[in-house]
């Protein structure tokens, strides 16, 4: 029993990474109906920027602001930088392509992804980079027979706090309602006095920023980052957002968490090697029986 609990907690940790990345996919998709294939690379870039701050700026910052100050600085720096990168990518790679429809945007998104990935390779080199090992005290916590680390708990707290905040913004504030309204019906939303461009701006800054923060958490959790990791995380997170119902923000969170837990349980009780197969089969089954995902709206075409 303790093993399954432990696996679920592990699953929630990795699931919260997926969820935070999936939010970026889902928000952009909701507003623009565009699959932003470069989103995984936003995540990677964030991770590398955080790494740079922590490795090269750590001495200075730890001296002046303490360890926590350095961490916060890394999170803020990566978040803000990626928000700017997200905006630039939207302007350069997507905006000129929208009018031509959705498919050209897929190619230009893939192009942006290759570009970002290789920029990272050129900038930081092709080797794995290691996050400093001593940032967070390596404290082990044993609850009953469940092994946890301090870092794991912090990551869970931070990601749930982020998700909670976003959930609050989107579900409880008027601006959040504006985002949902825009995703549902752009034209009518503009009749409400909502500036659609501002909503686009918002999703293209917040999504990458969340990705960047996740990148740093992943870096701290696994201590190791590589320039190609965005693909893998991106793919899983995209899967998560579809599982939850793409375009639906609570759906993305739910999808990510479910995916993480499924993956861990599949690995534990089926086979580690077949776990991704298991995850994709579940996804396909869900889509066969609920073609728009778990929380997705039903769409019926009017004839």
């Amino acid at each position: 029993m303790h093993v399954i609990l432990e696996q679920i907690i592990n699953g929630l940790t990795i699931g919260s990474f997926y969820a935070l990345i999936a939010l970026g996919y889902s928000m952009v998709y909701g507003v623009l109906k565009l699959i932003n294939f470069a989103h995984g690379d936003f995540f990677t870039l964030g991770s590398y920027l955080g790494y740079t701050v922590l490795v090269f700026g750590a001495a200075f910052m730890t001296a002046h602001f303490g360890l926590w100050g350095a961490l916060i600085a890394a999170l803020v720096f990566a978040g803000v930088s990626l928000a700017i990168v997200g905006l630039i990518v939207e302007r350069v790679a997507y905006r000129p392509v929208y009018p031509a429809g959705r498919l050209p945007a897929v190619v230009s998104a893939l192009g942006a992804s290759i570009f970002l990935q290789n920029t990272i390779m050129v900038g930081w080199g092709p080797r794995f980079q290691a996050y400093p090992a001593t940032l967070i005290p390596n404290v082990h916590i044993q609850l009953g027979s469940i092994h946890l680390t301090l870092l794991q708990i912090m990551i869970l707290l931070l990601s749930f706090a982020l998700m909670g905040t976003l959930y609050y913004i989107v579900q409880k504030t008027t601006f959040g309602a504006a985002i949902r309204a825009t995703a549902h019906d752009r034209k009518t939303a503009s009749l409400m006095g909502i500036n659609i461009n501002k909503v686009i701006l918002f999703v293209f800054t917040l999504g990458p920023a969340l990705g960047a923060v996740t990148g740093i958490m992943v870096g701290m959790y696994y201590r190791q980052i590589s320039f190609t990791m965005g693909w893998n995380y991106g793919l899983k997170a995209f899967t998560a957002s579809v599982l939850g119902g793409i375009g639906n923000i609570p759906g993305a969170m739910l999808g990510g968490l479910i995916l993480g837990v499924l993956e861990m349980l599949g690995a534990a009780y089926i086979s580690a090697a077949w776990k991704d197969v298991f995850v994709f089969i579940i996804l396909i089954l869900v889509l066969i029986f609920r073609p728009t995902g778990i929380l997705g709206e039903k769409t019926a075409e009017k004839v």
């Binding site: 008027t174 009749l191 409400m192």
Partner: protein
């Protein structure tokens, strides 16, 4: 003195088709003006053009003397023109209250005014107050219509544009909606009403315009329009019946 809202020689094109031809309409402070016409006459397009949703081909729209051409929709709302669109277009996955809050989106910082506006809407439509936490997709058609109108009122507009508020509603509700429209007007909002239900529309309006195939077919005070045979012809194709080149094939016995 300039009109509150004046539409001058407006023409609109969809792709290659002209849907409005040189239409001129004006609305004065405190008035209800009806635009009548059969389906496809161009009524909705007219309202959408005023709201900035469709680009203006030629002609212009003035609000308090200010030209509205090529101002984006969200700016037009800010200036005080609000549209309750055809087919209600409430956001079904949002609650009633969220829908109303969005209506006041341009004033979301002015908490007190928003609350006042909401109280006003709730007093006009008590049912919405009861259902404020319900998802608007679960409302009945009439309730959705009330929500759509209420939502448009939330920005405290000077001009309210109503597109087919009686569409798909049971007669009892139609009466209720029209009563409320009169009341809104008596509270000081000027209304441009697009409506298929000619009798009802003429009942509450002071003046009316009749559109036929994108052209202005008739206009004038309601009393004179009511007696105008043109309306029935515009709606029911009386002219065609008269011109019919051959009798109904199966009609001859």
């Amino acid at each position: 003195m300039t009109s509150l809202l004046s539409i001058e020689r407006l023409s609109i094109f969809y792709g290659g088709i002209q849907v409005l031809h040189d239409v001129s309409i004006h609305l004065e402070q405190g008035e209800i003006v009806s635009v009548l016409g059969a389906n496809g006459a161009g009524k909705s397009t007219l309202l959408q053009a005023v709201s900035g949703l469709v680009p203006i081909g030629s002609g212009s729209v003035f609000f308090r003397g200010e030209k509205l051409n090529s101002i984006p929709p969200y700016e037009i709302v800010r200036k005080g023109i609000s549209l309750s669109p055809e087919g209600r277009r409430v956001f079904p996955t949002l609650t009633v209250e969220e829908n109303l809050n969005l209506g006041a989106y341009t004033r979301k910082r002015m908490k007190d005014e928003v609350r006042e506006a909401k109280d006003r809407v709730f007093s006009l439509f008590p049912i919405l107050s009861e259902r404020r936490r319900q998802l608007s997709g679960t409302l009945s058609g009439g309730e959705q219509q009330m929500l759509a109108i209420g939502r448009a009122l939330m920005s405290s507009p000077k001009v309210l544009l109503l597109d087919e508020p009686s569409l798909g509603l049971a007669p009892i509700l139609v009466k209720q909606i029209f009563d409320i429209i009169s009341e809104i007007n008596s509270q000081g909002t000027s209304i441009l009403l697009v409506e298929q239900n000619a009798h009802k529309a003429l009942n509450i309006a002071s003046r009316g315009y009749v559109l036929e195939n994108g052209h202005l077919a008739a206009s004038g005070p309601t009393a004179s329009l009511r007696s105008d045979k043109k309306i029935q012809e515009a709606y029911l194709g009386g002219a065609a019946l008269k011109k019919r080149p051959f009798p109904a094939k199966t009609g001859q016995s």
